[in-house]
């Protein structure tokens, strides 16, 4: 191979990598742009303490969004995560209030979430029901069951639960570390584990996957159980941030997670996208609120702008899919 050919080969490899990750890169670029504007116009945004609080607040959402990414990659949807989150939060709060050590409350919360995910998974994979309907039903069921059980009462937590009994700073760093290590682990696993590849295969073409000897129903079931377990973990990460548990916590969490996933470039039709994009998407959406505050724009615009970003992402995907089809 001559040098020139070699060079063109390298550039073409680089172009193809850029093209393959174009969607993730464009979200990252948008995020960088927002941060750059903030750095120029409102450097106060970059003060460590508010930034740390922002990241801590978003840590549980990131965990849920990671699970949601796997759900959507496998061509399903789960809108019951907000209700699962509330059930796990209250259960964890009650267990902690009954003096159960945190080291046991955490696995209990995760297991409860996994159990709720298993119910979704059994109905969707086992009975082949559409996930939007199943999770709509479980969303309402869990939320109403919780309302009936708690009557809206907050759960007061004993000492030593908030921030795991650490200082606030240490607790915040701990939560961010948990969320980020989970992100890295999952990003690695989806690429390097056979199970991760099965999720993509099933989401791309479940029938082709079945003909290739993969069990699509088992894969789907597994993804929902995992989603539930992550929701249980996220609930725990939220509980330790305050002295009380709000039984209405997690309201709208499913929409935040789905928004981050969609903005992050995961195709709603399944089979495409990765967790790094989801991370960028989540940060982009999370930065909007403080950015508006710092830019002295009225807070009313927040939802409108978030909606516009989501719409833009969906339109971009639609245009790209149509282009590829032609």
């Amino acid at each position: 191979m001559s040098r020139k050919e070699n060079q063109s080969f390298l550039t073409s490899a680089a172009t193809s990598a850029t093209r393959r990750h174009f969607r993730e890169l464009s979200v990252a670029a948008a995020l960088a742009l927002v941060l750059l504007v903030l750095a120029v116009v409102a450097p106060a945004f970059f003060q460590p303490q508010p930034l740390l609080s922002l990241l801590t607040r978003e840590a549980p959402t990131l965990v849920v969004a990671c699970g949601m990414a796997l759900i959507i990659i496998s061509r399903q949807i789960d809108i019951s995560v907000g209700s699962q989150f509330a059930v796990c939060s209250v259960a964890a709060g009650l267990l902690a209030a009954s003096k159960l050590p945190l080291a046991l409350v955490l696995p209990a919360s995760v297991a409860l979430g996994a159990a709720m995910g298993a119910i979704n998974g059994a109905l969707i994979a086992g009975l082949r029901l559409p996930s939007i309907v199943v999770t709509l039903a479980t969303m309402v069921t869990w939320r109403e069951a919780l309302r009936w059980q708690q009557q809206g009462a907050f759960v007061n937590l004993p000492d030593g639960v908030q921030w795991f009994g650490l200082s606030q700073l240490a607790g915040q760093w701990a939560l961010i570390a948990v969320a980020l290590s989970l992100l890295v682990a999952l990003a690695f696993a989806t690429k390097h584990l056979a199970a991760g590849r099965f999720i993509y295969a099933v989401g791309s073409d479940a029938e082709a996957a079945r003909l290739a000897g993969i069990r699509p129903q088992l894969t789907t079931f597994g993804v929902f159980v995992f989603m539930g377990a992550l929701t249980g973990l996220a609930a725990m990460m939220n509980v330790v941030q305050s002295p009380q548990v709000d039984p209405k916590s997690g309201t709208g969490l499913e929409l935040k997670a789905i928004a981050a996933v969609v903005v992050g470039g995961v195709a709603i039709s399944g089979g495409r996208g990765n967790l790094w994009g989801v991370f960028a998407g989540l940060l982009l959406l999370a930065c909007i609120t403080p950015a508006l505050t710092h830019l002295h724009v009225e807070a009313y615009w927040e939802k409108a702008i978030q909606g516009a970003i989501i719409l833009l992402a969906v339109v971009a995907d639609g245009v790209r899919t149509r282009k590829e089809r032609n």
Partner: protein, 529 residues
């Protein structure tokens, strides 16, 4: 000709490099049933689509009612009185019969008030005209398949159709329902409508048709009057003749002639020769059946080193048999004996564990996951073997992918390119390579060269031969008659979910076609082999 409804002259149509119609001439007169016959891929569907305006012909002329039509669109065809009744009626299942007929026949005015009484009355009148005992208020969902076809015919009549095309209307009907449909078709004929009737069932053609045209490889081979050979009867007389169909129309000779017309070509010598002697029996089926998909009473041996061709018409149950063997629709009767061991196969995973590989039909587009890289597609079926510890090993994957790509000569820039970037033939090679990586003992190929260009086709044939020479047992489903004849060491012919004939390789195409079409005399004759 005065009563010529439709005249096609030297119509040609190509799709890319494939010449689907190479100069077809066809005519239809008022008050006749003209049967259109030909094996799979002979160009029947393309011809129908030209007549209904769905495809524009590249060359040739179309005259309708004696008028030259330069540019036939579906809307124009509709206006000229051409209607097509498909095997699967295209009705709205949740609407009533009257609503369905109304939607087709009434002018679309989105906000106009629907005149329900006249809509009902019109539907009832049309249904009565064809003698259909269907209530206009019945939901289409609740109707049987032939009743739905009658509704379609009523629509066609209501639209003033003079040319009615029926594409295998009896494929899913029982004998009694067929009689009912025939009565309606004869009514249509008596009222001066021209019917183009497509069917694989020879007995229907002899019961119904006045003339028959045979298509072969995109050419109209011959148009003939139906009846005793050399003794053509005028169309008017045929109406009576078909009513009292009896011994005197004894079809054997003519049937045989028809089959000859359909097959009528030499098997070319482009197929690679067999290099191996068949070895031990790898797969043995004893009275295998599966009620879920209509496979019944299959008894079959497949030997190592042999290519067993599975011939038959579309819908004969060949793919269904493959799906039973691969555990996609498990058997509920009979035995599967693999390498001397009786086994049950209830899932693809079990089939793979037993050394069975199934390369599905390309047409269904499930052979390759289009969004995934080629390398991922190639290792899809051997995850357990290639990656023992659940972690993927990209080095091993790439090595295997490069080997497979070289081995089967897959034309791609790199193994990371998505499966969808490949041509049909190369996708088929990837699908094949995926299963070869499992080192199967029994390889089931379902239409391995369908939709594949000529070059890739002969490459795939060479690969199949090489695999058999290496001792693999190959079960090859194919609707391509030359391919079956050229590639197979033995040929099993299926019809109606079961094997009707076992023929030696290099058989006469005529015998294969006769068995596939259900000519019982030939089938009984060759069953002993």
């Amino acid at each position: 000709m005065i009563d010529s409804l439709l005249q096609l002259t030297s119509v040609t149509k190509s799709f890319g490099a494939v010449r689907a119609l190479k100069g077809v001439s066809f005519d239809l007169r008022a008050g006749e049933v003209h049967a259109l016959l030909g094996e799979n891929g002979a160009g029947k569907s393309t011809l129908i689509k030209v007549i209904t305006g769905a495809h524009q012909p590249d060359g040739g002329t179309i005259d309708i009612n004696g008028q030259r039509v330069a540019h036939l669109t579906p809307a124009a065809a509709h206006k000229l009185g051409i209607a097509c009744i498909y095997q699967q009626p295209a009705l709205f299942p949740d609407l009533t019969v009257a609503e369905n007929i109304g939607v087709r026949l009434e002018k679309v005015r989105s906000f106009a008030r629907v005149d329900w009484p006249s809509r009902r009355a019109r539907a009832a009148q049309l249904l009565q005209r064809i003698g259909a005992k269907v209530s206009p208020d019945a939901e289409v969902r609740s109707l049987s398949m032939p009743e739905q076809q009658l509704v379609e015919i009523a629509c066609a009549l209501g639209a003033g159709a003079r040319i009615v095309i029926m594409d295998e209307p009896t494929a899913s009907l029982t004998q009694k329902e067929v009689e009912l449909l025939f009565a309606v078709v004869r009514e249509l004929r008596a009222s001066g409508v021209g019917v183009i009737y497509i069917s694989h069932r020879l007995e229907e053609i002899f019961a119904l048709a006045d003339r028959v045209t045979v298509l072969r490889d995109g050419e109209s081979v011959r148009t003939r009057k139906v009846g005793r050979a050399g003794c053509p009867q005028p169309a008017a007389a045929r109406v009576d003749a078909s009513e009292r169909r009896g011994e005197d129309t004894a079809p054997y000779l003519t049937e045989s002639e028809l089959i000859k017309l359909m097959v009528g070509r030499e098997v070319s010598s482009i197929f690679p020769p067999a290099e191996s002697e068949p070895g031990d029996v790898v797969l043995s089926l004893k009275n295998l059946g599966c009620t879920a998909n209509g496979v019944k009473n299959i008894t079959l041996d497949v030997h190592a080193g042999e290519v067993l061709g599975l011939a038959g018409l579309v819908g004969a149950g060949r793919t269904e048999l493959a799906r039973v063997l691969f555990g996609l629709t498990p058997a509920d009767a009979g035995e599967i004996i693999l390498n001397g061991q009786r086994v049950t196969i209830t899932s693809p995973q079990e089939a793979v564990a037993h050394g069975i590989a199934y390369v599905p039909e390309d047409r269904r587009r499930h052979g390759v996951i289009l969004e995934m890289p080629i390398s991922h597609n190639l290792t899809m079926a051997i995850h357990n073997r290639l990656f023992p510890g659940a972690w993927l090993r990209f080095g091993a994957e790439r090595t295997l992918a490069l080997d497979s790509i070289r081995d089967l000569d897959v034309r791609t820039s790199c193994p990371e390119a998505p499966g969808g970037s490949l041509s049909g033939g190369n996708q088929q090679k990837v699908s094949l390579a995926r299963w070869l990586a499992t080192k199967p003992k029994l390889l089931i190929l379902d239409e391995p060269t369908q939709g594949v260009d000529v070059g890739a086709k002969s490459e795939i044939h060479k690969i199949i031969r090489r695999l058999a020479a290496e001792g693999m047992a190959v079960l090859m489903i194919s609707s391509d008659l030359p391919e079956v004849l050229g590639m197979s060491d033995r040929i099993a012919v299926m019809r109606g979910g079961t094997i009707t004939a076992m023929l030696p390789g290099k058989s006469d195409a005529h015998d294969v076609m006769a068995a596939a079409l259900g000519n019982s005399a030939v089938a009984a004759d060759v069953r002993r082999l």
